[in-house]
């Protein structure tokens, strides 16, 4: 029973971070129809910025939101300069679908190389601001620690803020309309290109939070070649795809399923299988339900 509770807690806290990553992939996909593989690099860069800010200000609680703002600004800048130019110059033929995605792969390499150039290739350490020792109940220690509890609550708060923005505000209406039907949104007077940049900005903030929280919730080590960040990208992407790629609640649901399945495998079977099982989950979902958990059945509608 204890083991089962541990599994759920490990699964849910991993899922909370995957869901941030998944949300940032979904937001970018919805606003520009690009799968942004550079998201891992952007999250890593934000984690380094978080590390730098902590080193300079000495306060994690200020560094975290500040790094999210900078992550948003960086992401918006990428959309504004790189993506806009690419979409304009490769708007026709098969290259139009591929070029932006390949460009994000190139950008991923560029960001990683730049990080190595600025901060060096040796590991740097972003210390956790809260204890990572699990809470004690009587003589049993659970895996949930003050740090992982904070991560979970922070992510839930972010999710609530994002869903309120999307469902209740004018900006959210413009974001949704531009994602579902850019041409109609444009005819309704929405400045769709600005809204696209905004979608990238929100994605950048979510990715920055994912990067920093993953680091402080893990062993705190950061390196330009970080395997954890590649895994974060892969798991975030899988969560987004099995959730339906179009849907924000779907991304959260996908992350939850993935997190729980992986925690189950890790605890009851073997930690070595986690990577394989993640892809198995992806395959099984794509075969049984190609549109994802909450994706629309038909293709894109006008």
């Amino acid at each position: 029973m204890n083991q089962f509770l541990d599994m759920v807690m490990i699964g849910v806290s991993a899922a909370s971070i995957y869901s941030l990553m998944a949300i940032s992939m979904v937001l970018v996909w919805r606003s520009t129809r690009v799968v942004n593989f550079a998201q891992a690099g952007m999250a890593l860069l934000s984690a380094y910025i978080g590390y730098e800010l902590v080193a300079r200000i000495g306060n994690f609680w200020i560094a975290l939101p500040l790094a999210m703002v900078l992550g948003a600004a960086f992401s918006a800048l990428i959309e504004f300069t790189l993506m806009r130019t690419l979409l304009k110059h490769s708007s026709q033929g098969p290259i139009a679908a591929i070029a932006p995605i390949i460009a994000t792969l190139g950008l991923l390499g560029l960001i990683r190389a730049s990080i190595g150039f600025i901060w060096g290739h040796a590991d740097v350490q972003l210390e956790a601001p809260l204890s990572k020792v699990g809470y004690k109940f009587g003589d049993t220690t659970i895996v949930m620690s003050p740090m992982s509890l904070f991560v979970l609550l922070f992510v839930i708060t972010l999710m609530i803020i994002v869903s309120v923005i999307f469902q209740k505000t004018n900006i959210g209406l413009a974001l949704r309309a531009s994602a579902y039907a850019p041409e109609i949104a444009q005819l309704a007077g929405i400045r769709v290109s600005g809204i696209r940049t905004l979608g990238w900005a929100i994605a950048g903030a979510a990715g920055a939070a994912a990067g920093i929280l993953q680091t402080v919730n893990g062993n705190g080590a950061l390196s330009p070649e970080s395997l954890e960040f590649s895994l974060l990208l892969v798991f975030g992407f899988i969560a987004a795809v099995i959730g339906g790629l179009e849907s924000l609640p779907g991304a959260v649901l996908g992350a939850l399923v993935l997190g729980l399945v992986l925690a189950f495998v890790q605890i009851y079977i073997s930690g070595a299988l986690v990577f394989i099982v993640a892809f198995l989950v992806l395959l099984v979902v794509l075969i049984l339900r190609p549109q994802g958990f909450l994706g629309a059945k038909a293709g894109r509608r006008a």
Binding site: A174, A177, E183, A185, L187, A188, I190
Partner: protein
């Protein structure tokens, strides 16, 4: 006044519109009719800024319609209801309407406009909280027109509002369009396959054929013209 002068538009390698010219006075309804491939939709997409022209001029009250994006034209009082299902299925009826007024930034004015839309199409008020996916074809068309009206246009470009609708519903939509012209003073350019229905409610008619103007004139004259009747009205 909507003034179109020698407007030429290419569709890839094909010349979709070849130096067409016509004008529409303010507060009037002009029907643009013609068979498939005549260039009707191209004309509408060019006027609203979705498509760029090869040469010529098009102005509305002095604003150059051949320059700038659709969102820019909306702010100058030109709204376009594109062909087909011009509503966003994943949004509710009310969200679709609100969308048309987002750029106006004055929520009390937008609310007043919404009241006008609901007065014109009471069905939309009954269904305001429903996803627009659940609407009938006629209701969708009402919603598309209502959304365009939410931007408070002076010039409304309507592309085939009768498409796929039952005759009775078409009649009702056409009456509403006439009402928008008569009581709200909006100028309308109405593109239609349903030539007879459109000419009956229109003030002027423009007959397009393979990208050129085959005939223009008062709608009633066109209906009476034997050549137009034979070629486009089917009797």
């Amino acid at each position: 006044m909507l003034q179109i002068q020698d407007l030429t538009v290419d569709h890839g390698a094909i010349r979709a519109l070849n130096a067409i010219s016509f004008t529409v006075a303010e507060g009037k309804l002009a029907a643009v009719i013609g068979s498939n491939g005549a260039g009707k939709t191209t004309l509408m997409r060019t006027l609203s800024g979705l498509k760029s022209a090869a040469s010529g001029e098009a102005t509305w009250l002095g604003h150059n319609l051949l320059h700038g994006k659709p969102e820019h034209h909306v702010r100058n009082g030109v709204s376009h209801v594109s062909e087909g299902k011009s509503v966003i299925a994943q949004l509710t009826v009310e969200e679709n309407l609100d969308l048309g007024a987002l750029w106006r930034r004055n929520s009390s004015e937008a609310k007043a406009t919404k009241k006008e839309v609901f007065a014109l199409f009471p069905r939309l008020e009954e269904r305001r909280k429903q996803l627009s996916d659940t609407l009938s074809g006629g209701e969708r068309q009402m919603l598309a027109i209502g959304r365009a009206y939410m931007s408070r246009p002076q010039l409304l470009l309507l592309d085939e509002p009768s498409l796929g609708l039952a005759p009775l519903v078409v009649e009702q939509i056409f009456q509403s369009i006439r009402q928008i012209v008569d009581t709200m003073g909006v100028t309308v350019v109405l593109v239609e396959q349903n030539a007879m229905g459109a000419l009956k409610i229109a003030d002027y008619g423009v007959v397009l054929n393979l990208g050129t103007i085959a005939a223009t004139g008062k709608a009633s004259d066109l209906i009476a013209d034997p050549a137009v009747r034979a070629a486009y009205l089917g009797y």
